[in-house]
Symmetry: C2
Subunit: 693 residues, 2 copies
Amino acid sequence: MKATWIWYPGDFEVWLGNKFNNRRTERGAMFPPFWKQDSHWPTVVFRSAYDLEHEEVIAVWTEGEFNFSLDGKLLSPLSAPESSFWYEESDFYEGYRIRIPAGCHRLAFKVWNQKTPPALYVEGATIKSCSDWEVTYEDKIWIDENGKAHGSGIFVPAASWNFNDPGNTPSQYSLRWREQKPVSQQEMPGGRLYDFGRETFGHLDFRKPSGSGIAYIYYGESREEALDRDHCETLDTVKISNGLVHQNPGSKAFRYVYIEMRGKADYLLAMYEEYAPFDPDKSGSFRCSDEELNRIWQVSARTLELTTQEFFMDGIKRDRWVWSGDAIQSYLMNFYLHFDTECVKRTIRQLRGKDPVTAHVNTIMDYSFYWIDSVFRYHSYTGDSKFVKEMYPRMVTLMDYILGRTDDEGMAVGKGDDWVFVDWTDFPMSRRGALCFEQMLLTRALLAMMVCAVRSRDSKGIQYYLQRAKELNEKVKATFWDNDQHAFVHAKEGETMNRQVTRFPNIMAILFGVADSQQKQDIAEYVLLNPDVPPITTPYMRFYELEAFCRLERYELVLHEIKEYWGGMLREGATSFWEKYDPSEEGAQHYAMYGRPYGKSLCHAWGASPLYLLGRYFLGVYPTKPGYEEYEVRPVLAGMEWMEGDVPTPFGKIHVSVTPHEVVVVSDGGSGKLFIDDKEVWIPSRQEVRLKR
Amino acid sequence: MKATWIWYPGDFEVWLGNKFNNRRTERGAMFPPFWKQDSHWPTVVFRSAYDLEHEEVIAVWTEGEFNFSLDGKLLSPLSAPESSFWYEESDFYEGYRIRIPAGCHRLAFKVWNQKTPPALYVEGATIKSCSDWEVTYEDKIWIDENGKAHGSGIFVPAASWNFNDPGNTPSQYSLRWREQKPVSQQEMPGGRLYDFGRETFGHLDFRKPSGSGIAYIYYGESREEALDRDHCETLDTVKISNGLVHQNPGSKAFRYVYIEMRGKADYLLAMYEEYAPFDPDKSGSFRCSDEELNRIWQVSARTLELTTQEFFMDGIKRDRWVWSGDAIQSYLMNFYLHFDTECVKRTIRQLRGKDPVTAHVNTIMDYSFYWIDSVFRYHSYTGDSKFVKEMYPRMVTLMDYILGRTDDEGMAVGKGDDWVFVDWTDFPMSRRGALCFEQMLLTRALLAMMVCAVRSRDSKGIQYYLQRAKELNEKVKATFWDNDQHAFVHAKEGETMNRQVTRFPNIMAILFGVADSQQKQDIAEYVLLNPDVPPITTPYMRFYELEAFCRLERYELVLHEIKEYWGGMLREGATSFWEKYDPSEEGAQHYAMYGRPYGKSLCHAWGASPLYLLGRYFLGVYPTKPGYEEYEVRPVLAGMEWMEGDVPTPFGKIHVSVTPHEVVVVSDGGSGKLFIDDKEVWIPSRQEVRLKR
């Protein structure tokens, strides 16, 4: 076993999240989020116990100032060099050295660091810091007047990741870089326009600088944006004097860069793309007979890769924050692409931050519900109960906050500054009162609480959340189902029903199993297939709508929609998928949003949903017991001549290959069932299953 | 009006408190507290609105990265130099410059700083940052897809102090320094012993260094401690090489220093005493015919001055943390010495830290009650309702925590890791179950909540806390008063009464008016004057005991006790007053505590209580309306031939001079009443009142 850096769970994410979110800029101005930012615990205690056969000398590195107690006794670092505890100032790589005698011993390090999370690395022959160690932010051990120690704080398992070297400290973490060069450049009247060929994210590199001047840099996801100095969303300056570049600009999202030079300086331009590494051998894939679908899958993958950074972010150009509603979709896509569980955990921790809860997650009510659901979803795909136990206390306090704001009927209503989002809509839709859509998300969140209560052995919680979920479910069905309109209607505002029919609650009624089978058919006919019900315009809610169609087994319709909507963006030249797409718009109209000509994100995580839809409903692979301990494969060609692909799992991959004549499944583990043409076949681990049709 | 640095209320104290508490060392090892340490909000928004007659250019300094919005629109700092927002990198004193047009404008600065509290300084012709500005840690302003802004966070008044210059930033705050030289030095076999003549606090200064070597420094509050290298509480090393001192040691408390030099180096030793400045013209004083009392008052003043630092601390040598039970006594003494209201506010804020409440203040149940009471006491002496309003939300969450841990009868019981302190006791005393003493403190805290609810206009709170206080008061009297023992007995443990009689609850019964007049007489006779009830051995609880005797008008007894107990320490050579004093001990026995030979603090804030007793009960001055708007003077000579002194108030001083023949009172403000020999005389502001007896 190797030693590794350890810290208080969630603190790395809270700290990194602030850095991450605050890197957002708007025309050069720093632009932090409008919700509360938290801090790591500045002072924590790490502890462990060892039974040593032999004396051993441990080396200690910390991020922060520290003290050390052996068996409850604080050791003095100012003892003479011949004593057990000393430090060679000259060589960081020596660390502090402490001699631990043979026998049973309790070790405790208290570390203080206001700026970055307190972290510890200890390495001895057998003593090694790792996630078996425990940590607390209040040890509560007090000494009475006679010198006797009392009390003990609540310790939790320490967090770690992959910082396995003393010099590779958590606070130095960054994404990886790879060089990219422009595919073309064009001299313009006032400057030079560079095209990097496709959407990218990273920082420019000014090479072979000469002369002196200031480069005014205008970034564009589109050519139009880069050339519009007054309205492009991101910009920068770089000063070159006497052939020296003062400071490279920060990371930005762009395809095009337009640079005007004031003064007399020249340079060659390249950039370093920043990316989160992944293992292609463990990643998902999809290929089929339809080249447009293949291209959609590839651009979706590119979109998700660009938005997979320190955290799953929504849009890489303008927004650059972590959003709960966007993130849960990224998690689901990710489970069919790179299965990056660490990034999922980081994002979940970052979004939740610390107690007390003073607002909904991202201030959005729906996003609190999605956040709770995301822990359940994570567990379904990974089977990682340890993480559920870590998050459960914060799930409880968030649910306390949510339930503390429900109305007399136990329904969630927007209060004060709560943002009730649902979706961006082009039609009038009130967000007042109890929205049916929100109650369905709350019911789902209550059920997620119940499942996580099981994993955390909170028997009172199991009963309580189940009861609340049942009651709310009954109330929702009784209140919002409209027999005349054959649909769940929009909202209850005080005593008044708002009988507007929108797609939102009806989609969720299908996905969350609220609708019975007759209601499902009604919803399909009267809502989802009804052109009079205003269409969904964001890929965000389209994700759920298309998933609902899959649940209704309208697979051909879904493939058609994917080709229309995502294919439409490709036909507009997209190299990554957009925040929103309206086929009726033309040219630069596509780039406008938020009242700004280039406000729309052209690389937005929620645009990558074909990754999920194709893996989950066409390759048809999904877990039926947490972590794919058991799973099902229900492939659907839906008009494709053939398809094949891989779905990543905790134990490796599940490969599926389908033609009208044959289905082949090979899995690296787990116990699966293949369903095809009313046949059901068991899929053993590591044995090819080949089924003729 | 001058501009001043502003920040989020309490954040300066939270951040400074961590630095302060973590400066404690134990034989060179850093020794942070065992309770939760919080952080400042890393990202906050400052805002203000101005109606400008003329355009003005403001200069902006921040601690942290920032952005600026004018009328809700974010300004770009990368605009060309001819635009309104620029920055001259070369000169910090220029700050950022922003041109604000004439007319009504809303200004908002968002500042991010992970390491030290985000702070802002803005100076223009009329626009100046000050505590009229508002601040929030979550502005909750979100922009919809059409670019429209929604929402608004909860803003509170910004905090400020005396950082009135851009270069004098809050994060650079330190105490002041003054040079002190040893009064004697003595060559010893292995080193050199320095005596600085009296207890002091500060850092050593190695002057005229020559040669090379390492100085091993052993500090002592006593000569014995400094010479005991293996057991002295604080020590240090200083490296001198080739006549250069590598780093001066950190601040310590000591009178003696013993230094052993390894190697061949020499130096001259001085020290810089660190102190909180005060205005002698606004300070309290006391002089009387008894020189021993005068010396006691002076050493008390020295003790309080040494323990008045960034915060009111308890002991300056070993402990160096901020403790709520100690601090409330410091506040009361301070109101009769320097009336340093800023240090009181800082200490109250620091002790409370941030939500969520995860433990009692300092983990001690009694200390939570004292903390709540301290806000009320502060208000009584200062009349500062603004501060009460600032603290009230945190009073409520702390009281929620307290009441969430009461038993079925609404009584406070120690749970889990709660530390139930009461006092250090030399006799067996259980801390289990519902202690009568703790219920009396809780009753008092509930009444303090009620008063602060009035100031904060929380009408529900007023009713609720009053009701809980009344109920608890009735229950305490019915449960704990023992007619046979004529005393409040110790505790109720489950269904069993613990009928031990101690002084603690009986003292509080008198101070908080729980006891009726017959009970008071009983308590005096059967408890306080009863030698069979174990005596109090700490100046901490002796503070309240002597105050109780004052309430019982046993003034001669109190003066006698002061001369015995505090006079006893003086006779042992004390230059500041101790954490604990047992007249029966001898020599170095006095220095032992906590199982360590020099564990006792020889300069402990709670040792300075004669400042309060003499000012409050002998000069007899105290406010009867908040902030001395009205006050009373009830002087008591109690055997002294004469006494005179000053009591500081928000408006200046109240001077009192008393002989058996005459009383003279002069007050700088307020409306007072002088009570003497059954006479009552009105004291107008700024007019001498001279009353012959």
